[in-house]
């Protein structure tokens, strides 16, 4: 799920409805920012299997 395909603000709105959560207006931007941060974090794991192979090869050379 890439950032351009995933509108975090819209997702927060929909997820809040789905989970029965009332995101306060003053915290909305912070929730979006936090979730965007978690999304960026999750993207580090998207290709971990391929990356692990690369790391193991690098380690062998060292």
């Amino acid at each position: 799920m890439t950032e351009d395909r995933w509108n975090v603000a819209e997702y927060v709105h929909a997820a809040a409805v789905l989970h029965g959560l009332a995101v306060p207006a003053e915290g909305y931007n912070a929730v979006v920012a936090n979730l965007r941060g978690l999304h960026e974090t999750s993207r580090l794991l998207e290709d971990w299997r391929e990356a692990v192979g690369a790391t193991e090869r690098k380690s062998d050379k060292r």
Partner: protein, 457 residues
């Protein structure tokens, strides 16, 4: 000769004197309660103090000693526990107003009970970030805890009250919990020893709210001897591993020590971090480096797991009592509630691979040395800190170097590096599961060399 009633008395000095009958447990507890009454209004480490029950317990220990009985290896030693743990007679708040109206705990959490069984005496509950979600112990409801070494600075978190209570000498030992680094981080910023034990080595009952798969109890102390004795007392009877107190003086012979590199462990480091790493590398004559497997992905996995699992316990409260949350944590919890399951599952799958990769490292080395915190204690109210050459939000950033170890199940200990006239900073030692004694051996050597020390602030 250390006075067992003084603030700088270690747990072993106190227990030795109480067991020998040269000082009463009651006098020790009265002295500690007096220190708390003088110091705590400034530091705000304790959120609740137990006097009567502690003094009753002290008198019982004195009676046992007088009758020729064994009062336990930690006889008369005052301690305190993060408000994450049940302590009989007081309400377990976990740093949250949401739990403040709950009835008092009827019995002690497993680790509190284990220290009581060893003769130690609990004096109260310690401040923390709400539900452990934070790295500074700036708590809107219970106030900020101050760093005893620099009152305008944070103690770290989320076990900041634990670190401040030990560093200030209010108690010689205390209990915290470590999910993403909540023992090792404040231990580094407050200049004390802090241990995240092996997964499964200690009791998990009586932690509120119930911990996810990352959070475990961990002690702090001002000496390796105290840490070894406390860990021995906390360890479950069927947990593997040798007695740390018996093995801590075995020296470094046979231990292979390496500096961890790779990813964020390659730096760039801030000046203080580079300095403490150099001090330890030189003191221990470390010539080997090993590549820690994927620390940045390990950090990512740990953060996603913690976000999803932490929120799972709070969904009802987020729906119906949102206004009761600390504004500092509310928005993070709301975001955590919306984490897609796919992210969590990917993180747990990576965690399995990562754990195996780290265990493989320990086929070749015994101890890994790595930084503990990316900077010295920031000032209260700081929003961002510089890590790896980048300004990052303070909460997750302070745990930058301790988070990757959390999902491994390995024991890790922060060791305070002594630098005269400087703010505290620790180094992190990591060993294979159930090898806490190896951590103590290295730390004990560093302590004997004067490289590691935890003087009372």
């Amino acid at each position: 000769m250390i006075d067992p009633l003084a603030a700088n008395a270690e747990a072993c000095h106190i227990a030795q004197a109480v067991r020998a009958g040269t000082v009463s447990a009651e006098a020790v507890i009265e002295a500690a309660l007096q220190r708390i009454s003088v110091t705590n209004p400034t530091l705000n480490a304790f959120t609740a103090v137990i006097s009567d029950r502690a003094l009753r317990r002290a008198r019982a220990i004195d009676a046992t000693t007088a009758a020729g009985g064994d009062p336990g290896p930690l006889a008369g030693v005052p301690f305190a526990a993060k408000s994450h743990f049940d302590i009989a007679g007081i309400t377990t708040t976990a740093g949250s107003r949401l739990l403040a109206g709950n009835p008092s705990a009827e019995c002690d959490a497993g680790v509190v009970a284990a220290l009581h069984a060893a003769g130690a005496i609990c004096l109260g509950a310690l401040n923390m970030d709400e539900f452990g979600l934070g790295g500074t112990t700036e708590n809107t409801h219970y106030g900020s805890t101050r760093n005893p070494h620099a009152l305008e600075r944070v103690p770290g978190g989320s076990s900041g009250g634990t670190a401040a209570a030990v560093a200030s000498g209010m108690v010689p030992i205390a209990l915290g919990t470590d999910g993403l680094g909540s023992v090792r981080l404040p231990a580094s910023l407050c200049g004390v020893f802090g241990l995240r034990p092996s997964e499964g080595s200690g009791a998990l009952d009586g932690i509120r709210p119930a911990p996810g798969t990352l959070t475990i109890p961990g002690p702090m102390a001002r000496s390796v001897a105290d840490m070894a004795r406390v860990f021995d007392a906390l360890r479950l009877g069927d947990a593997p591993g040798a007695s740390c107190a018996e093995l801590m003086d075995a020296g470094l012979t046979g231990l292979k020590i390496a500096r961890a590199v790779g990813g964020s462990y390659d730096g760039p480091f801030e000046t203080d971090v580079a300095e403490v790493v150099d001090i330890v590398v030189e003191a221990l004559k470390i010539t080997t480096t090993v590549i820690y497997p994927e620390p940045d992905r390990a950090r990512a996995a740990a953060m996603l797991i913690m976000s999803a699992e932490g929120t799972a316990t709070q969904l009802k409260n987020l729906r119906h009592r949102l206004e009761m949350f600390d504004p500092r944590t509310r928005d993070r919890y709301l975001a955590g509630a919306m984490v897609p399951a796919a992210w969590y599952i990917e993180a747990t799958q990576f965690r399995s691979w990562h754990r195996a990769a780290v265990l493989e490292l320990f086929q070749h080395v015994d101890i890994l040395v790595m930084p503990a915190t990316p900077c010295v204690a920031p000032r209260i109210g700081t929003d961002t800190v510089r890590v790896g050459g980048v300004q990052r939000p303070i909460g997750p950033a302070l745990g930058y170097y301790v988070q990757p170890v959390a999902p491994t199940g390995c024991p890790a200990m922060t060791v305070p590096i002594f630098r005269a006239g400087r703010l505290p900073m620790g180094i992190q030692l990591v060993a294979a599961p159930s090898r806490e004694a190896d951590l103590m051996r290295v730390a004990r050597v560093m302590e004997a060399m004067g490289v590691a020390a935890a003087p009372v602030a």
